[in-house]
Every structure is written in C-alpha cells, then in structure tokens.
Subunit: 380 residues, 3 copies
C-alpha cells in the first residue's frame, strides 16, 4: 500500500461524476479515505476525509452535493478547498483556524479524468506522459459526458491480481460476450497467431488497416505506445479496431448510444484504450466511455468500480438502452472477478510457485517488472 498507492498518481473518478460545483465523491485506497470535490472554478480538490479536530470521517456518503463540508461529530465546517471556516468555540478561546484545514492530497484533471497523489512530492514523471496521452483522450470530451451507470464489484483478490488479469487476453475464451467485439488476438502479433485464431487475425488485420486509414483522415492518433515498465507512470495507450461493425462493445460491434461523443466525426473509431498503473484502465469509444478503477481494500480484496459515460445529451431509452449498453462489460467484469478469485485462492497455497508467462502475456511480465522496480525503489 505504501510503496505503490502512497507513491503514485492514482485514478479516482471522472469529471462526469462531479459535474457541478459542490459535487463530491469519496474514494478509499486501503486505509485512506479521500474526498474529491468540485470547486467553483471547475477544479477538483482532493481532501483527506479526516476531521482535523478528533479525526472523525467527515463525509460518509459515496457521492453527493454539498456546500461546505460539515463534520457530523462537532460540526467543524470546511470550505470545498479544505479551509476550516467554522468551529464552535468559547469566547476568547485561542485557536488558530488556519492551522486546521483538511489535509490535501495532490490532484490533477487530465482529459476529464481525476487523479490524486498521496505522496508529499508526487513523481514528476506523470507530467511527462500527459502530452502523450491527451491527444488520444481529448477528442472524447469527457466534460460533455454524464454517468449512465456505475457498478462496484468487491473482488476476492488483491489489486495486483486485478491488474495482471487486465493485461492479457490469453484468457479471452472466458469472455464470450467481449470477444464479439474485442479481437481475442489482442496482445498477439504476426508470427505468433495460434491456428484457431488465424481467421480472426486476418479480420483483425483488415479492420486495423481500415481504422488507421480513417484515423489518418480525421487526424486522430492511434499508434500503440507501450511504456508499462519503462517509467514511474507505467502506461499503454492505443486506438485499436473492433470486430464486426467496429463501433462499440456490442454483439454486432454496432453503436450502443446514438449520440457521438464530443465532435467525433464517425462511429467507426474502434476503442481508444488506456492502461495506467497502478490502478486504472479505460476504453473510449465514439459513443461511450468506460472507466475502471481498482481500489484496494486489504491484502486479499479489491473494489473494482466501472463507470459507463455517454454524451450528456443522450437520453436513456431513446438514445441508448441501459441494459444493452452495459451488458458486455458487466458480464466481462463478473468473469474477471471469478478469475481473480481463483488466482487469489490458488496462489495462497504454500504449493504455489510462479509459472511461465506465454508470449501473449508479455504485458503481465512488464507490469510485474514495473512492480518490482517500484517496490525496490520504495524499499531502498
């Protein structure tokens, strides 16, 4: 917890979860609880959810709207920037309110995604990747989206198993719904295609070429940038084609919402996917966005929060059907939760020893290499 979650930029929420000033969400990373609150200038403050008086948790709901933040115990009242603005006191009581603002964490909003950092000195490396990833993400204009649905799954495995599971498609036979649109050849490359996937691979190649032509036409970046183990803010970003109609995560590959996001020119834009260590991944499509956040609970449980965003003017029942929109990833998440639980259980046996990674799992190896580096640096 300290080495990884204490020293890195962590995904917390998207701006669609905090559309108006005063809107807040609370998120927990292990024993840490944080309040993210939108201020009047549109910024997002990250505040430790710990009253400076007696330590009570200040906000107890997962989300809501508030003017000031009032602790439920003795009514100490904080502004959305954390400043203590009221604490009942006796006349003449010497007490400097300025010393007791809620502790702040660092926060950044990148293309509508809110990140926080618990470290005193956040790693500067995060700044360096922003210019690289923003061109991929900005066209989806998250600030013009709204939350269609949010799902929390308490997975019976630690956060590391959750992230490892996300870095390979070697298990994609276990995701029949997802495999309709996401090519199960993901993670493979020429010369490594197993016979039963050769046909899919050909389709994938063709779709990829078409997508790249389309992106070139629209000036959208698509190149795979893979820096999972070469920097502190390990990440992978790309825009990749989808199977079938190539529009969205549906059985046919067709759009799931009728409203295009932002000023996107076309529905057939595949998926812009970002994996960002240590705790998040994202799929941005032309018609909706899905954010995934892993919040560690303890050494054997992780809360995985999935949020579906659609254009803020999309109307449920008219422009999208909620069950259809969320079907593929709801199923996929449940399948993944089961895989993670199997690993947690099995790897808890004293008989467990690390096995070999297949070539299609090279990103898992990269992630583990990153983890080793980060922990070595922390422990040094």
């Amino acid at each position: 917890m300290e080495g990884i979650f204490g020293n890195h930029w962590l995904f917390a929420a998207s701006v669609a979860e905090l559309p108006e000033p005063g809107d807040y969400v609370t998120v927990d990373y292990g024993p840490h609880s944080l309040i993210l609150v939108r201020d009047d200038n549109g910024g997002v403050n990250a505040l430790h959810n710990v009253c400076r008086h007696r330590g009570a948790r200040v906000l107890t709901e997962q989300s809501g709207t508030t003017g000031n933040l009032v602790c439920g115990y003795h009514s100490w009242t904080y502004a959305p920037d954390g400043t203590l603005i009221h604490a009942a006191s006796a006349p003449g009581e010497k007490f400097d309110k300025d010393c007791f603002a809620l502790k702040r964490a660092h926060s950044r909003v990148v293309a509508g995604l809110v990140f926080i950092c618990l470290a005193t000195e956040p790693p500067e490396d995060f700044d360096a990747i922003i210019p690289t990833i923003e061109p991929y993400l900005l066209p989806h204009e998250l600030n013009k989206t709204k939350v269609a649905y949010q799902q929390d799954i308490l997975e019976e495995g630690n956060w590391k198993l959750v992230m490892e599971n996300n870095r390979e498609c070697y298990h994609c036979d276990g995701h029949p719904e997802l495999a309709c649109s996401l090519f199960p050849t993901w993670g493979l490359s020429d010369g490594l295609i197993p016979p039963h996937l050769e046909e899919v691979w050909d389709r994938n190649q063709t779709a990829e070429q078409e997508l790249q032509d389309r992106c070139d036409r629209y000036g959208l970046p698509y190149r795979v940038i893979e820096e999972l183990n070469t920097r502190i803010a390990g990440f992978r970003i790309s825009r990749e084609s989808l199977d079938g109609h190539g529009e969205s995560f549906s059985e046919s590959g067709r759009r799931l919402s009728k409203k295009l996001l932002g000023d996107l020119p076309d529905f057939r834009l595949g998926r812009c996917s970002l994996h960002l260590q240590p705790n998040s991944w994202f799929h941005m499509l032309s018609d909706h966005v899905i954010t995934f956040a892993a919040f560690p609970i303890n050494e054997r449980q992780t809360l995985v929060r999935t949020t579906w965003l659609v254009a803020d003017d999309a109307v449920e029942g008219v422009d999208y059907d909620l069950d259809t929109l969320t079907h593929t990833w709801k199923q996929t998440n449940l399948q993944d939760a089961n895989f993670v639980a199997l690993c947690q259980k099995g790897a808890s046996s004293p008989a467990y020893e690390q096995g070999p990674y297949m070539k299609s799992e090279y990103q898992v190896e990269m992630f583990i290499d990153w983890y080793r580096q980060r922990m070595q640096e922390h422990l040094a």
Copy 2:
C-alpha cells in the same frame, strides 16, 4: 487490554441484575470471561468462566439463576464461591479437588455497583475513593431497584473512543433528545459560554442554584469532584441540575417513573453523575438510575451495555412506561455509537493526526492524560 483492563477495577453490573442468591451474569472484557454470581450471604463472587479441567467455558448464558455451576463438558461442578465440589472420578483416583476451584477475580460492591479486578494485586487507590463517592450514590439505594431494561450496542470503535466521547458535550447538538433535559452547557464555565448558549447558561445557573439549595436542605452532596487524571481510579462525581422540570431525562424534564428511589425526599434532584475510569459512567436520578458499561471486544469494537433501573416496587405500565423511560438514552446511545464509528474510521487513516481540544473538551484531555500515565506505568 493488559495495561488498562488487566490493572484496574472494572464495572461489571449492578446488584439489581443479581437480586437473589444463585443469580449470575457473565461479562467479557476482551478475551476474559467472568461469572458474577450472588452468594447466599448477599455477596457477589467473580469467577473466571474457565473450567479447571479442560478449559471449557462453564456458563454460556449472559444471565440466569443457578444452584451450583456445572460445566457442560464433563459435569465438573462448582459451588457459587468457585469451590470444586464434584468431578466424576474412578475409585481410588488421586485427585485433590481443593486445587481446582474456579479462579477468582477480585470483586467489590460499592453502593450496589459491582466491580471486579483482574490484577493479582488490585490497586489500593480504589478504596480511597469509596468514602468520597458513596455519599452521592447511597441515597439512590440500588439494592431496592430492579432492571427495567437493558440494551447492548456493539459499537464500531475501540473502548477509548467510547470513553472520550462520553467526556464532552461539545457534540451535544447531535443529541436533540438529551439536550431537552441535560444542559448542553455541560463542561463549560463562566466566561466560556458561546453566544448561542447564553440563554441556556442563564437557565442552567438558576437551576443549579435551586438544586444546591434543595440538596443543602436534604443533606445531599452535590459538589463536583473531578479527579480524572490525578489518581489510578480516575473519576468525576457531582450532582447537577436538569433543564425544564429538573426531575428526569424526559422532554419536559418531568419524572419518568412515579416511584421515588430509596428514601429520596423529592423528585427534583437533577442527576447524580459518576464517571469512573476505565469503563463506566452512571446517571442516578430520583426516579431511575442508568448504568453504562464499556466492554472491549477487540481493538476496533466495544460492547456498550446500558441498564435502566427503577424502584423495585414500580409497576410497568402503571408507574412507568418502558418506551418513554428509555427513549432519551436509547436515541442518545445510537447517536454516540455513530460518532464513535466515525472516529474509528477516520482515525484509522494514516493521514490522521491528533487535533486540538476545545476548552469544553478539557475532560477528554484529562482522560487521555490519565491513559498516558497508566500506560507509562504499565510499560515501565
């Protein structure tokens, strides 16, 4: 647990919970389980609830009546004083029953309140406070009361947070029912009254003067004695006025039971309140008594047991209505349980640091000072 609960006198129950010889209650302090059983002479024995044969828990109910104490495993049978009086054995089996009495803890009954001590040598300091507190308590004659109601709340916080919460009324805005009768200026003094409480304070002062006059007339002690951090058996005792009619913890301040306790001469006697470290507090009124005991479960949970006592000849439905009698403190206890849980959660964050105490919280500071002293002595 060892430093505090192993080395101090602990409140366990009142004699009203054990009215007849053979009546018992079992109480747990962390991993310790004790039997309190009334013997034929009216004394109360405190016995470790651990069979001397194979270690089985002897009594499993929270309370009841028994002749001898029979272990459910092999029927070893103990007298109410713990003596082993029967263990099935083979003819000629050499076995000295005298060596296997149930282990005893120290016990004392003070004005009808039963205390136990787990230490080999109980701190003598407890003897010293008895002559001080008895004159306050004895007039309520607990030996002539009966249990009207008992409530157990499993609070999601450690016992220290429970006790700290009890030492201040800075949070009394969170107790609307209680604030009808208990002056929320409690803990304040002249010159420290915040503007919104000035009117209450004037009422409080007037009521206090009237109560003191009345007590002087009846020969009842009322002076505040506050020795929270100046001795091992840290305590605070006083008789203080109540708001409204000044009789009891009701919305109007009027009596909640029609029967006066003991030989008390008047219903308008406010509340005689005792706080006794480490684990109890009491409110004794003219018409009923409430005892509060904090039983630590583990490092983050505490069982808080509240018991309402009325005159033993008071008849439910005639002299008192049970819901009305218990309303104020049932609500107050739930509110306090919530406050304690907020503190436990918030203070578990690595971002927590101790904050400033307000003047109205001076007793919390005293309690913490006592705790530090006691732990230092234990660790030395």
Copy 3:
C-alpha cells in the same frame, strides 16, 4: 500446520467417494488445497489444486467427475496424473510442458482409505502400521461400499481440540444417543469403574467376551493395539463390543442396514474402531462404516467431515433408512461440536491453565504427548 499437517500422512477420503476413474474430490488442509482423482488403473492421485501457469485453483467443486483437469482461467489442461497435456501457445513458442505438471502429493490407499502426505519425504513409519491395521479393516471391504450420506460441520475450535475430544468418553453423558450402543465405560478398565457405571461395566465385560469368542471363531482380529504416542503414525485400533444387540449404532444396538459388508459372516461384530493421528477416526461395523476427517481451517476453526458408507448393493428405503442410519452420529457430532466450541472459547482466556486429566482420559494425555514429541522434532 507445518509441523503436523505438513509432516504426516493425512486422511482425505475413502474410495467410496471416488468409485470410478475420473471421479475426484477436493480437500483443504489450512491453506493447502488438494485434488484426489481416481485414475484408470484404480489408483488415486493426489495433486495440488494450483495451476502451474498463474496459480489459479483448478477444480472448484468439492467433488465431481472429470476427464482431464482443465483450469478455468486459461484452459491449461492436465491429465488425471497431473501431466500438463495442453496449454494454448503461439507457433514456435518455446515452452516445455513436461516441466509444468501439477505438483503431486504422496498418496496411499489402505483398505479403501485414501491418505495423502504433503512432506517431500513422507515418514516411513506409516508403512510399518499398515500390516497391523489392514487385517482389522479389510474384511469390511470398503471398495464394495457406497456413500449413503456425508455431513460437514464447521466446528468453532482448532483441530487439536477436535482430536482431544475424540479420545475420551469421560464426556459421554453428553451423548445420550451414542451411549445406547457405545459403552460409556470406554477408556476405563477393571478397578477404575465408578459406581454408577458398574452395571454397564458388567454388561460390557460379558459382551466383550462374547464378541471375542465370535471373532476367534471367524478369525477376525480384535485385540486393542494402542500406539498413540509411541510412533509417528500414532494410532489405536481394536474391535470392541456394542451394547444391546451389539450390531450397530442404533438405540437397540440392532443393525441399521440389512446388507452385510463384504463377506462378513455375522451382524454381531461390534465396532472395529481406528483412531489415526493427526486427523481421522473410523468406526467399521458389520452393516456400515463411518469415516471422520478433521480438516483445519485456521487456528480456531475445523471442518469435520463425517461419511456414512453402506454396502454398494444396499438400497435406500429398502435396506436402510437414511435418517435412522445417520441419527446417532449426527446428534453426537453436534454435541461434540458444542464441546469443542466451549473449549476453544474458554481456553482462549488468559486465565486458562491446563488442568488435570482423569484416568479415563489417558488417551488424551497420550495424544498430547505425541503432539509435543512431533512438534519438538519439527522445531528441532
């Protein structure tokens, strides 16, 4: 766990639970999970239930039938002997399947009882006891039985308390159903009979003599062999008489299934009982067999699995009534679970100290002596 369950032969199941090739059961000993699978040659393989790829638990059901063992995560496929026979891979991927068979534990089938050993070098002492115990067990021909019923109880006590409880009948007043057929004088001997058991003892002596005559006639061994603390595979075996009709664990002592096991010549054969450390005991009667296995969960919980076996051609509702067959031990098990829980609770008190064992508990003392020896050897 390591000293005892890591270094001894452990009972897992009987062959009646795995009648056909491909049948499997999974059993857990603390953090260890094992698959027992019957192979085509009638042998039983014990395999660690941990995929060699990423550590996922391979089989998740408690029992079933399978061809090969397929991991649910990435479909790695193992033969019933643990050999990895398929793992999807890319063309040309260098990967030696021979190195990634499921790890095996040692396994032995003794008279139809399946034992496993987690140690690299199993203690040889187990081999030595087999010729001693087989003559007692083999006549019941477990390979011609079937499972009539299986009951799992999660006992709130550690495995050691479970085993200790099983080694004495000093508590048999707590087993009224069992005491109808199992003489509660069990564990006693001449000169040690308490007065209230004298009549039972006389009956017991007579029944014993009759049983021994009968066994002599049929060539069945019956002598008590008690090596609880004189070897690594501590055990006790005997054939002892039952009360009443002397046939089975019923109220009258009469048979509970109409079909004799194996080629047994008579129903009146009492009980052939085996206690085998560290985790099992067995009662073999002429009409049915009961196996008991203690699977430790953690330091305060144990799963006790009881399995009733009848002749494989016995027909439920015709030859036996399931409720009647299982009644005595279902009740006895629940009573024992309560005793174990009482001990776990009481012995967790810091006030607990070990008490004296009565002569009728000499086998508990032997078991504890064995435990001390085994742990000393492990820690040395």
